[in-house]
């Protein structure tokens, strides 16, 4: 635990250093990129403001992960179970990723309103793809020997999925989940583009419009903190839950 904290500290210092270098490289222009120190000061001064907005974004991230994760897992299972479906629906899946938020923002608002729902939907949409793709990939690469065995044992399509293919694909799902967790924060922020009045994304847009660049980067800092925490928790959980996960086993 202590070593973990040291690592986090060191990587924070390293980020600050990189930041400082970028700051100098940008010619110390605070309206483009404020210095780390100034940002930190702003973050501390506006801690309660940031905390309030972070709460919204955090909730959106978690709900988005839940939504995108559940739908993603379900889609992957569906697509893996019905090969014909796969050929026809994977393109739809890919299209769903190619749609920029501003194209469907009005639609989302029309259908879901300005509340949390449209943001969570947007975040889910972004999280959905890595999860579905990775899990589907895992589900379609089960070791043939196990499938043979299961067939002889009289497994049905469903029980084979449940007892063989899904567990065998869990490490792949885990890898997809890591990617999803990495993009979830930006998913929530993009969701807030759809129209919002709270959240770190809203705060950043607002601060950007008011030229409060230090506040924008302070919000970014908080977002980064959320992202790292989330990623780390996921990584630990996966390591604990999937102890057997070698890429290829002999």
């Amino acid at each position: 635990m202590i070593r973990r904290l040291i690592h986090i500290l060191v990587s924070m210092v390293m980020t600050a250093l990189l930041w400082q270098i970028a700051y100098l490289a940008a010619g110390q222009q605070d309206y483009l990129l404020p210095s780390p120190l100034k940002t930190l000061t702003t973050a501390v001064l506006k801690a309660d403001l940031l905390a309030r907005h972070a709460l919204t974004t955090g909730a959106e991230i978690l709900l988005g992960l839940l939504g995108g994760g559940l739908v993603g897992v379900a889609s992957a299972l569906l697509l893996a179970s019905f090969a014909p479906l796969r050929r026809w629906l994977v393109p739809v899946l890919v299209i769903s990723q190619a749609i920029p938020v501003f194209a469907i923002a009005p639609l989302l608002v029309l259908w879901l309103g300005y509340g949390m729902a449209s943001k969570v939907a947007m975040a889910s949409l972004i999280i959905y793809f890595p999860i579905t793709t990775a899990f589907l990939d895992g589900l379609s690469r089960t070791a043939p020997g196990w499938l043979d065995l299961a067939q002889v044992m009289g497994g049905s399509r469903w029980t084979v999925l449940r007892h063989i293919r899904i567990p065998a694909a869990l490490p792949s799902l885990g890898a997809g989940l890591k990617v999803a967790v990495g993009v979830a924060p930006i998913g929530a922020v993009i969701g807030e583009w759809v129209g919002s009045s709270t959240g770190l994304g809203y705060l950043m847009l607002h601060a950007n419009a008011r030229m409060q660049v230090d506040l924008m980067f302070a919000a970014l800092l908080v977002l980064a903190g959320l992202a790292i925490t989330l990623f780390w928790v996921t990584d630990r959980l996966l390591a604990r839950l999937l102890p057997w996960r070698a890429t290829t086993n002999e």
């Binding site: 020997g145 196990w146 043979d148 065995l149 299961a150 067939q151 002889v152 044992m153 009289g154 497994g155 049905s156 029980t159 084979v160 007892h163 063989i164 567990p167 065998a168 869990l170 999937l242 102890p243 057997w244 070698a246 086993n249």
Partner: protein
């Protein structure tokens, strides 16, 4: 301790006709016929790479794509769901404990797992203390015994086993042979083995697969010599020599047409 005896289904005889089976265009079997007498053990020997596993897999309905073959059962009903299969690799699922691996079949069929029977089987294959371990925490022979226990759990009229005792020491091997012989008495069993002594101890029919082109020769056994035979049966030694001689008269190892 013995496994609770289950009402056995009537023995089932099989005839496999492999008309044409190829791997990537290389013919493995052409017009090969294999008879498995109902309720008897058939042991199959043959040099490495001759096609024993492939033949066994045909019976398990795991043929390579494009195979032309037919399985005739003595009751004329399809063989599906009446076969237990133990592959040459142990195929244990790495995320399941030994116990869960052994009761996998029941779960795949949505049947309640007979945990008492599983515990008893684990005891009999000597893995009672290992039931909560994951496969990667077992030795090679322990893994093989877990796979054996899983196959025996299946309780099917037809049992196909591909070198099930190859990773076991002689002592454990004899114990496992006896266990299988007891539990699979009056089942139709096809056992692939490289050990002539094992084939002679357990087989009521001993076949040698030669090739290419693959063909089956039956090794005649003395009449009135019920299996399983005692290890110290003097006839075993004689027969072993004859069977070995039959094996030697084959093409070089690894050859395939």
């Amino acid at each position: 301790m013995t496994v609770a005896s289950v009402a056995s289904p009537p023995p089932l005889g099989l005839t496999l006709t492999a008309r044409h089976v190829t791997y990537d265009g290389i013919t493995l079997f052409r017009d090969l016929t294999l008879d498995l007498p109902a309720g008897h053990w058939t042991c199959l020997l043959g040099i490495s790479g001759v096609g024993k596993s492939s033949l066994l897999r045909l019976l398990a309905d795991l043929a390579p794509a494009g195979s032309d073959y037919h399985v005739q059962t003595s009751d004329n009903r399809p063989l599906t769901d009446r076969v237990a299969y133990m592959a040459q690799q142990d195929l244990l699922l790495p995320w399941l404990s030994v116990l869960d691996n052994i009761t996998l079949g029941a779960r795949l069929r949505r049947q309640p797992a007979d945990t008492a029977r599983a515990a008893s089987l684990l005891e009999q294959v000597g893995l009672a203390d290992f039931r909560h371990r994951r496969p990667d925490q077992l030795s090679g022979g322990q893994r093989q015994r877990a796979a054996l226990a899983r196959t025996l759990m299946e309780d099917r009229p037809v049992v196909l086993m591909d070198e099930p005792f190859s990773a076991l020491d002689p002592v454990t091997r004899l114990q496992m042979q006896d266990l299988a012989a007891t539990l699979l008495d009056r089942r139709t069993v096809l056992l692939v083995t490289h050990d002539p002594l094992e084939a002679l101890r357990l087989g009521e029919q001993v076949l040698v697969l030669t090739g290419p082109p693959a063909s089956l020769t039956s090794h005649p056994l003395p009449a009135d010599w019920p299996a399983p035979r005692a290890v110290d049966d003097p006839r075993l030694t004689n027969q072993q020599g004859a069977l070995l001689a039959r094996l030697v008269h084959q093409r070089p190892a690894g050859a395939v047409s």
